[in-house]
Symmetry: D2
Amino acid sequence: MAHTTANKEKLLLRIKKIKGQLGGIEKALEDEKECFNVLQQISAVRGAIQSLMSEVLDGHIKEHLGNHVSDEQREKEIENLASLLKSYLK
Amino acid sequence: MAHTTANKEKLLLRIKKIKGQLGGIEKALEDEKECFNVLQQISAVRGAIQSLMSEVLDGHIKEHLGNHVSDEQREKEIENLASLLKSYLK
Amino acid sequence: MAHTTANKEKLLLRIKKIKGQLGGIEKALEDEKECFNVLQQISAVRGAIQSLMSEVLDGHIKEHLGNHVSDEQREKEIENLASLLKSYLK
Amino acid sequence: MAHTTANKEKLLLRIKKIKGQLGGIEKALEDEKECFNVLQQISAVRGAIQSLMSEVLDGHIKEHLGNHVSDEQREKEIENLASLLKSYLK
């Protein structure tokens, strides 16, 4: 079972929380709150997304490249991971 | 009128789109899609958030530090901006 | 006097230290040290550069947009800063 | 042979170029060039370092996690890579 399945509930909860944060930004815009307030909230969402990325990536590397994976599958996963990181770290 | 007010509808649309992308990640998790698919979607959301931050920040700098702002207000905004960037660029 | 002039010695010292770190990477490559060691050192240099950027930017915002700056100069600086951040945060 | 060995000359050249860029910043500080000029140069060095990191990481993943690596070695490399990315993406 993949790590995203094992941690499904925990990950869904984090995404729900991020959606809640975006709802807060919508409300700040609707209420015409001061711009700096909006910037702080966007900055917090960026932090939450990066932390989510870091966690799912960590599980991905440990789970999908390890010794229990078939050679064929590992080769595919290595290509995928390398290409994802190239785009993410640009 | 602040730039976040002038662009309110456009910004709300972008946030709605990002919430839609998060909904896509929720669905991928629920359907137990492969982990790499989830990573790609999180990476896309990070890109969308950073692009939103960049745009709101651009408007903020042009709008809230300019010559039409009172000295007192500008002093406050400069402190705020410097502290936000310190945390955002860490 | 600009903040980069007031802090000149301190900034020069930081850059000298980063050049030293790069020298360490050169040595690790020459000695054919293991690749992971090289990655760790590049990651440390990235951290040092980002921290330098954050500090110079902080001084720049406080120094060059404040109330003592002429309207004409501030207008130019705002354009410059907005464009720099757009490229830096991409 | 590791990819950092195979590409040694190319990587050394890139690092030499980055040291040259840092020399340019030193000169700008010595000559008390305007601060914005210094910021632009630091931003360029950050870009060069990130691009170097991305390239070495790409080679690392393809070289050190693949099917030709022993199970024991791969286990160690996976732990190392996961921990490096956790710190790099923070």
